[in-house]
């Protein structure tokens, strides 16, 4: 298996229905849990640390180090919270992990809970993923009936539609029954997390890798993937490619391999124009950068982020100003409103980009766009404000001629033929909403 294309997250799914406990057991499921429960808790954390298992949710923080920061002997319970609020545009990997291998996630939860001494696990699943919620619920019921939980409580909690709840402290607020608005840090969740208690928070795909870390051992696990980031990731490839979808590959695979070999290249024989490597929030890469390996450090060195391994491929039919505007509209819509630079800044971005797209902007407006980005970056409690800036500022920097081509009455050089021409953002729908009243007969 090591030779061709190692699978960890999707292992055993070929020709099998791993949503079923018996089938998951047929491929070695819950063996790692049995082994883990015979280990000292600290030995599990040590194994995860030695494996350099880095967070697959976005930040890439090593899971073992996170666990080592948990406050000890506080007299409070220790919580494990799984972030299944996947909402980053371009990302749909956690959805497939839950839908196809729910027991792998549950097993990961139980091993991790043993490692950190937790009796209480919460899995926060985005509200839209109703089917995945039901798959998880059925799997959990089976695991409970088979007496696999060992006294650990796992609660599945559904969100109700808010991108910001994927931010860990906003997620905790939402789980506590508040509006999902981020908290100031410090204190960090390992010290003061859910209900004020020490809390370990990890992404679905991170936790679902834990059984394989225990099964293979840190030494074997570390041989897979990139030296600085061992293991695999499920890469979500979307946009203008011939075969979009989720593909599990080792970290360190190049963007070129992912786009051309795995996803069949740019669709419809078009030219590659731009690659967004980690979900809509990260800086764009240009075609000359696609030999970059997809691991945290390499993508970082190329000026972007690994993010959620969600690769959006853009062909030459798309206007980059329109793309920046659509991204900005999303972040404006999802800004929770707590921090002024993000709340106001996202609106300024949308207004300036609209003006530019409509051919009403001057060079002063472009300078202002740059200035607004500057005044937003790093100025809010969480990264959402930054996430609005990264696409806008990077598209502007890298496709400057196209942005400037819109100036002084010129308008969009695509003259109505851009691939995303006229795309309606939900925020625009809400703007109009106040102008009419909807009546529904009784």
């Amino acid at each position: 298996m090591r030779a061709g294309n190692p699978t960890l997250l999707t292992a055993g799914t070929e020709g099998r229905d791993l949503t079923r406990l018996d089938e998951y057991r047929d491929v070695g499921g819950y063996v790692a849990l049995t082994r883990a429960r015979k280990m000292e808790p600290q030995a599990i954390v040590d194994e995860i640390t030695a494996a350099t298992l880095r967070g697959r949710g976005g930040a890439g923080f090593p899971m073992g180090r996170k666990a080592s920061l948990l406050a000890k002997d506080t007299g409070k319970p220790v919580y494990l919270v799984v972030n299944a609020d996947e909402s980053e545009p371009g990302a749909f990997k956690d959805r497939d992990v839950m839908r196809t291998t729910p027991h792998r996630l549950i097993e990961g939860c139980l091993i991790t809970a043993h490692g950190i001494g937790s009796q209480s696990v919460f899995i926060y699943i985005r509200g839209e993923y109703l089917h995945e919620f039901e798959v998880m619920r059925a799997a959990l019921k089976e695991a409970r009936k088979a007496e696999l939980l060992g006294g650990v409580t796992i609660v599945l909690h559904r969100g109700a539609g808010a991108y910001i709840c994927g931010e860990e402290t906003a997620l905790l607020e939402s789980l506590e029954g508040s509006r999902g608005q981020p908290r100031p840090r410090p204190p960090f969740p390992p010290v003061t997390g859910l209900y004020g208690a020490p809390t370990q928070i990890n992404n679905v795909s991170t936790i679902a890798l834990v059984p394989k870390v225990v099964e293979l051992g840190a030494a074997e696990f570390s041989k897979i993937g990139a030296p600085s980031a061992p293991g695999t990731a499920v890469f979500s490839i979307s946009g203008n490619v011939a075969r979009p979808g989720n593909y599990e590959r080792e970290l360190g695979v190049t963007l070129r391999d992912l786009i051309y070999d795995v996803a069949g290249g740019v669709a419809d024989g078009r030219e590659l124009k731009a690659v967004i490597p980690g979900g809509s929030s990260v800086p764009v890469l240009t075609p000359d950068q696609i030999d970059t390996p997809m691991d945290y450090d390499s993508i970082g060195a190329a000026g972007s982020f690994f993010g959620s391994a969600a690769i959006i491929v853009v062909d030459d039919r798309c206007c980059m100003v329109q793309l920046a505007l659509r991204a900005a509209q999303f972040y404006m819509h999802e800004s929770c409103g707590k921090c002024t630079p993000c709340r106001i800044g996202t609106r300024w971005l949308v207004q300036l980009l609209t003006k530019l797209e409509e051919g009403r902007a001057s060079a002063t407006d472009l300078a202002l766009l740059d200035d607004v980005c500057d005044r937003m970056l790093g100025k809010s409690l969480c990264a959402l404000g930054d996430f609005a800036v990264y696409p806008v500022s990077s598209y502007f920097r890298k496709y400057r001629d196209e942005f400037e081509g819109h100036l002084d009455g010129a308008g969009c050089p695509f003259a109505g033929a851009s691939s995303i021409e006229g795309i309606l953002a939900p925020s625009a729908m809400h703007d109009r909403h106040a102008l009419w009243t909807t009546t529904v007969p009784a």
Partner: protein, 163 residues
């Protein structure tokens, strides 16, 4: 005229069960509002907020402050069916606007509106997490991926037949 009513005894009992899942009962506010919304025909009128507040020992204002934050909780009437078209980047790049336009034509509404007969609400939504199977359309919480403009009349016909 609409008469004020509590949630059904069954929903009330479900909310009490939800509360016990959490160390603090306020954590149950999202699932409780979701349950109440289902009971009240897909949205949360003031009496639904009062009923949830009562079941959770919170105030109606608190429940409103939560409901107004989340995209899937509705504070205005919606149709018996909900058609949601994702228009975020990945879907936009492969023709989401044509799908949204096809639904608007077929239903004779603008996005954000409900058909005159109160049957179907059409909405544009942010990323639904089906980017590799775009364009994504969610009909009554069920994902249709991919869905092309030519599929739209069939989907609408099926919805109308469902009643």
């Amino acid at each position: 005229m609409t008469r004020e009513r509590e949630v059904t005894a069954e929903t009330y009992a479900k909310i009490q069960k939800l509360r016990r899942q959490y160390p603090r009962s306020r954590s149950a506010v999202l699932p409780a509002l979701t349950l109440a919304q289902e009971e009240y025909g897909g949205w949360l009128p003031p009496e639904a907020l009062r009923a949830v507040a009562d079941a959770l020992e919170e105030t109606p204002a608190y429940c409103l402050s939560i409901a107004s934050f989340y995209d899937m909780l509705h504070l205005e009437p919606v149709g018996r069916h909900m058609v949601e078209v994702c228009t975020n980047l990945s879907c936009a790049l492969v023709g989401a606007q044509a799908v949204l336009d096809a639904f608007a034509d077929e239903l004779d509404v603008r996005p954000g509106e409900t058909t005159q007969d109160g049957e179907v609400t059409l909405r544009a939504i942010e990323c639904a997490g089906g980017c590799g199977r775009a364009p994504v359309v969610v009909v009554d919480h069920v994902y249709h991926e991919p869905l092309r403009p030519e599929d739209v009349p069939g989907v609408v016909e099926e919805l109308r037949a469902r009643g």
